[in-house]
């Protein structure tokens, strides 16, 4: 594609060090995701198309699958919505979702550490993850009860902006 690489990109390095083959599509998806956390596969496809022209749905799903597998991104699947993705991995943070508009926030673990990871009775399970989702109504929707904007994924916001 381009013989003259513009700079030994940080994202590119990340992929290589994790044994993921580097392609234009994968770079674009990674970049799109870092700009837009909590995006759906479809959102990312749109975002990527705006940058590199075209990408197939299959490539998007495949790439996301690989990245999740390599632990470079995380898949979140809230009830009643398509799967969403984020590039914050490693820290045990949770999510706060508005029932009316679907806006999603990151929040740190309730008690600061990892208390939720230990179930009272684990039934002999080997537990590897505790997923916590807080449901409610965001300030905007509380103030405008009639104007419940339909859940758009573009309405996702980062926790610290």
């Amino acid at each position: 594609m381009s013989t003259v690489m513009s700079a030994p990109d940080e994202v590119e390095q990340l992929l290589r060090t994790h044994g993921v083959q580097v392609t234009a599509q994968r770079l674009a998806i990674m970049r799109a995701l870092s700009m837009r956390p909590h995006a759906t596969a479809d959102d990312l496809a749109d975002e990527v198309r705006a940058v590199i022209g075209t990408i197939s749905r299959q490539a998007v799903y495949d790439t996301l699958g690989v990245l999740v597998d390599k632990n470079l991104i995380r898949r979140i699947q809230p009830a009643g919505s398509a799967a969403r993705f984020e590039d914050r991995v490693g820290d045990n943070h949770h999510h706060l979702i508005c029932r009316s508009c679907g806006t999603m926030f990151d929040i740190d673990c309730a008690v600061g550490s990892v208390p939720c990871l230990t179930a009272d009775d684990d039934h002999g399970f080997e537990i590897d993850e505790a997923e916590v989702v807080y449901w409610g109504r965001c300030p905007t929707c509380r103030n405008a009860p009639g104007t419940t904007s339909s859940p758009t994924t573009s309405s996702t916001r980062s926790s610290n902006d």
Copy 2:
């Protein structure tokens, strides 16, 4: 349908007191659900058909929607699976799901009370529910690494049987 009702059924009472019109389909769905917690809409349709002959998919979804709305049942939607339903409401219990076979257990809240309900920073949200899902591998799948049975909803078990 039957003018001679066999007994002022507990389920029937429950529906009436919650202002839900009583129909054969609704009773059957409620009963099916109490016998088979964590069932999908499709599971319930099958179960109901075995009892009252036929039911349309729409009736199942509609009924489940009404019941969830009236807070008589609860909808759970784990990643990668159809929505599941259970008749345990009110208590703040959580779920434990096996990654390989999809088996789902009820577990009581980690610390005994409702600690997970309070987020560290609520972003101005009006939080009404904290959903906690523990992911891992069940004892059966741990002992039989090759024989990972495909996720069947019929493999759901109750916490206390």
